[in-house]
Amino acid sequence: MQSVAHEFKAHARRALQDTTLQHALARAKGGFIDQRRTAIEALPEFDELRACAKQIKNHTLAHLDYYLERYEAQVKADGGQVHWARGPEEARRIVIDICRAAGARRITKGKSMVGEEIAINPALEAAGFEAIETDLGEYIIQLAKEPPSHIIAPAVHKTRGEITELFYAHHRSHGINERVSDVASIVNEARSVLREAFVTADVGITGANFLVAQTGSSILVTNEGNGDLTCSLPRVHIVTASIEKVVPTLEDLAVFLRLLGRSATGQEMSSYTSIFTGPKRNADLDGPAEYHVVLLDHGRSAMLGNEFREMLRCIRCGACLNHCPVYGSIGGHSYGWVYSGPMGAVLTPLMVGLREAADLPNACTLNGRCQEVCPMGIPLPTMLRRLRMREFEQNLTGARSRWLLSIWAFLAKRPRLYQTLLRPFVRLLAIGSRGTRRSLPLARGWTQSRDFPTPQGRTFQSLYRARQRKQ
């Protein structure tokens, strides 16, 4: 999708005023947090697994070329094909070419963040294909023509009422003329509408949670089973995955599987974890005749070589979003691109450009809760600070902030001057105040929702020195 990250502030403000969205966010937050905590408390080995996963990923990344080549060789040996794409444009072309060659008309899709990253749906539609999202959340936002607002729960921002109206508007063509508003009926209606898509699709496109080098397999973790229907019923299966998804062996995979579900939704295992290896075997009764993997770089090899390598450990569990108080206040759409929350604030600037997404790394209090819950031990606040440093070096920091910061730094480096200048300033602020001020020139941001506590009157240093002189 086209990034609108540069409009972060306006979008965030709108999101804060959107009461429907605020309800949806409030409802989602508590559940994710409690479920994760319960699941992790029940697994004494969690921290050990976390350390192990981190070590496995670090090892894999340090030999990424080796593992990618082994993975590719194994996919080929199993009868599949591997395609490489430097960026979204190339990836889209590869996917479209495969669909054309297959003479496809209808394409079903499983949820794929890489698919979102390369904006595959609009490209497929522009090329004359019908592309249907089959994950319920993705299906809902596809009908609403919106991007996902959460990497695990793409429609987390939608209320039941909104979904009712969406279905009512779109399902008439399927002969459904009644509004359904309870959760069970909504899910059933989607089930019946999408069944037809599953069995008539020519191509299925899914993402992959992991790629296993040892076996050439792609791993898909879902709860709905839509991914499996997407992979197994059409003639062609295309996997869109990014290069950092590879792990060496099935034994390594096991470590990640134990972390992923628990961190994402508090599940020990999602309902379906599927390991796909190549196209259908000769005598198989189902399965795709063609199995393609599109490996996307899109800035990742650059991250591998710079101070953002650790971000490549991310397994897209969404825990950092669920625990982020900023995400919890403004939701995913404010971030303006595919990824949101802490991981999005790191990835988006690196993928769509620092200037475009300059707000994202700054819109964070560096409170560290994301890092605390990240199963891959990614130091997200450190990543954000590093992006801020890049912004500062590239002069992307706002002029006013720069000015104020440099004045402060100038003073901080000159203790005498600092004390001489700030002493009267502090006094001035305290004059006539009864503890706080309702408004303050230059601090309107602060005073729009809170008072400004005024200083006691004299600085500590002046009081302390005076006291010492007396002694």
Partner: protein
């Protein structure tokens, strides 16, 4: 945590107290409270006059050069003490966790930063760590709730220490708030750069505080406390805000942060 203090009469261990810029400018009472607590615990406390700010504003806004220069100054000023104590989790975290990282490419200062880091403590972790059994003051019976400031909590693991110390103040009772570990929305310059989001976060925090019914909210970081106090004042709440050091030192004789509610 803190090694056994040599209690021989020869020399009291010397503590360099870094009061932090916010305390210096806005709430000297916290500095005096920290001073009193440290002296009472038997330390020779020195407050270097050359101190200003720890450099977080520069560091957290991407200005690595200024952050480094300010850090050097702090490192030099506090080099001579057995301990450096800071009544703020975020400033102590800056010194302990981040100073060494600033000097990856400067062996001399890396060494110095690491030394300072190993001797630097946040006030409550220091006081709790030395475990002096000195009685803490009495308070007129009242209840409090505690906000865990993020840097102290996650960079330094400060959670139980202030609670343990406060439990020794007779007359106080604790009422935990929901999500005491969730950010209040201060975040240094964040609160002025993104006032809408910050406002929303402090609103949530203050709701959690008010829901406890406590008389006071305490914390270990003046920035967060000013943020919380400002919001409480805006909604005319009667909950009063103090820094944990002020309560521990019995220095609540001045109006709370943000003043008394009218």
């Amino acid at each position: 945590m803190v090694e056994q203090i040599d209690s021989s009469p020869v020399r009291q261990p010397r503590v360099g107290l870094f009061v932090t810029c916010l305390v210096d400018l806005f709430r000297p009472n916290v500095g005096f409270a920290a001073l009193k607590l440290l002296q009472r615990a038997g330390f020779d406390v020195v407050i270097p006059s050359q101190q200003t700010c720890c450099g977080q504003p520069a560091y957290n806004n991407g200005d690595a050069r200024d952050a480094r220069e300010i850090a050097k100054q702090v490192i030099d000023v506090f080099a001579g003490y057995d301990y450096t104590v800071v009544p703020s989790g975020s400033c102590a975290g800056m010194i302990k966790e981040h100073y060494p990282r600033l000097f990856d490419a400067d062996a001399e200062y890396y060494e110095k930063a690491t030394t300072l880091s190993s001797r630097c403590f946040e006030l409550t972790e220091f006081l709790d760590g030395i475990g002096d059994g000195a009685a803490l003051p009495e308070m007129p019976s009242c209840s409090y709730t505690y906000h865990d400031s993020c840097s102290g909590l996650r960079e330094l693991g400060i959670k139980q220490q202030p609670r343990a110390l406060l439990a020794r103040v007779s007359g106080l009772s604790m009422l935990e708030m929901q999500d005491s570990n969730v950010c209040c929305g201060f975040g240094g310059t964040f609160c002025v750069k993104y006032p809408d989001i910050s406002g929303r976060m402090v609103t949530d925090k203050v709701e959690a505080i008010c829901a406890t019914g406590a008389d006071m909210v305490l914390g270990g970081d003046l920035g967060c406390l000013m943020n919380i106090a400002g919001r409480l004042k805006r909604i005319d709440s009667t909950v009063s805000v103090y820094h944990v050091a002020e309560v521990l030192a019995g220095k609540t004789d001045i109006p709370p942060i943000g003043g008394n509610s009218s």
